[in-house]
Amino acid sequence: MVGPAFRRDGDATLRPVEADDLEFVRLLRNHPAVRYRYREPVPRNGTQVESEYEDDISDEDGLALLVCVDDPDGPDGPDGQDDQDGTDAGSDDPEPVGMVEAPWTDEAAGRTHVRELVAPDRRDEGHAAAGLRLVAAYLFEERRCHKLAARALAADERRRAALEAVGFEPEARLREERFVDGRHADEIRYGLVADEWEGR
């Protein structure tokens, strides 16, 4: 059972990460198609994921949220329709499809780095952009952030398209910045400034 909705936009929600979600987090942490997104692609077992959950995710300053989508085919129908048990809990069977994280913040500058991760079997369904849009709205509207920064491999058209769809602007091409798949790959640095954000 996933946690309560923290922010919602249509059928996409951000929800706090709960202990029950750690298996999903561990999958993202270790999956070859996702782990290169972390600072270092090192293995993380259940105990390590749990201590990250205790120390970082559950820390007062930590920010990590599950990206979920309502599953209309689940036993709980959409809001306003009776669930299987004849009531309507309005929960709409949220299904975790990814995560958004703010691994680094400079409070004095009002700047936060954001990272969105999508489960490998849920790609190309728009969840990256939905998660980024939700976390941008939260950070700009509730946390008084002035700028969000993000990075994508130059060759990763899919992630670049998601960032650009949300309004992130390419600011720099970082040559041979990250070691991925046996070579030093270029990365694009993106920025989104509060007053240029369309969702404002």
Partner: protein, 175 residues
């Protein structure tokens, strides 16, 4: 008594930072003429300087060095954002206002870049400078850094958001 010379150059030497140097560092890390170039907004009192010494200077992985001219400290230089897995690190430096325009920053930056490539096997060294900091940008460009982009409204200094120019230097372009 300044620390041991770690990297020796024509214009400056880079020496280890010892506890006796903390007064010099505190004086300048608190000076608006130094800290505004970094967007540093926190005061450094004695206990905080001690923490800095213990957590960064004395850390096993820490590379913080004192730039000295004829044995006298003129500034500080350091490696930050060290990413061994990607073969990348960032250099930073400041020179005391009374010692500027003598080429010390360029001398210090050259020594640290050479160290990063020749001794540490880094693939890339990066650096950032606030857009208005033409002195620092000239230093980086004369050392051989290439401009990789301009980061909009990246820091908040003196009541306004300021852009940052991002630089990179690859090992293959250094040797």
């Amino acid at each position: 008594m300044p620390g041991t010379v770690f990297l020796s150059g024509d214009r400056v030497d880079l020496r280890t930072i010892e506890e006796e140097d903390l007064d010099f560092l505190a004086r300048h890390r608190n000076d608006p003429a130094v800290r505004r170039g970094f967007g540093w907004a926190e005061p450094y009192n004695e206990p905080r300087m001690e923490d800095f010494f213990e957590e960064h200077v004395a850390d096993e992985e820490g590379v913080n060095l004192l730039a000295c001219r004829d044995g006298e400290p003129v500034g500080e230089t350091f490696l930050i954002h060290v990413e061994e897995g990607h073969g990348r690190c960032e250099i930073g430096y400041w020179i005391a206002p009374s010692h500027r325009r003598e080429g010390y920053a360029t001398g210090a930056a050259e020594l640290l870049v050479e160290y990063a490539f020749a001794e540490r096997r880094f693939h890339k060294v990066i650096a950032r400078a606030l857009a208005w900091n033409e002195g620092s940008r000239r230093v980086l460009e004369s050392v051989g850094f290439e401009r990789e982009g301009r980061l909009a409204e990246e820091f908040y200094v003196d009541g306004e958001y300021v852009d940052v120019v991002r630089y990179g230097l690859l090992a293959e372009d250094w040797f």
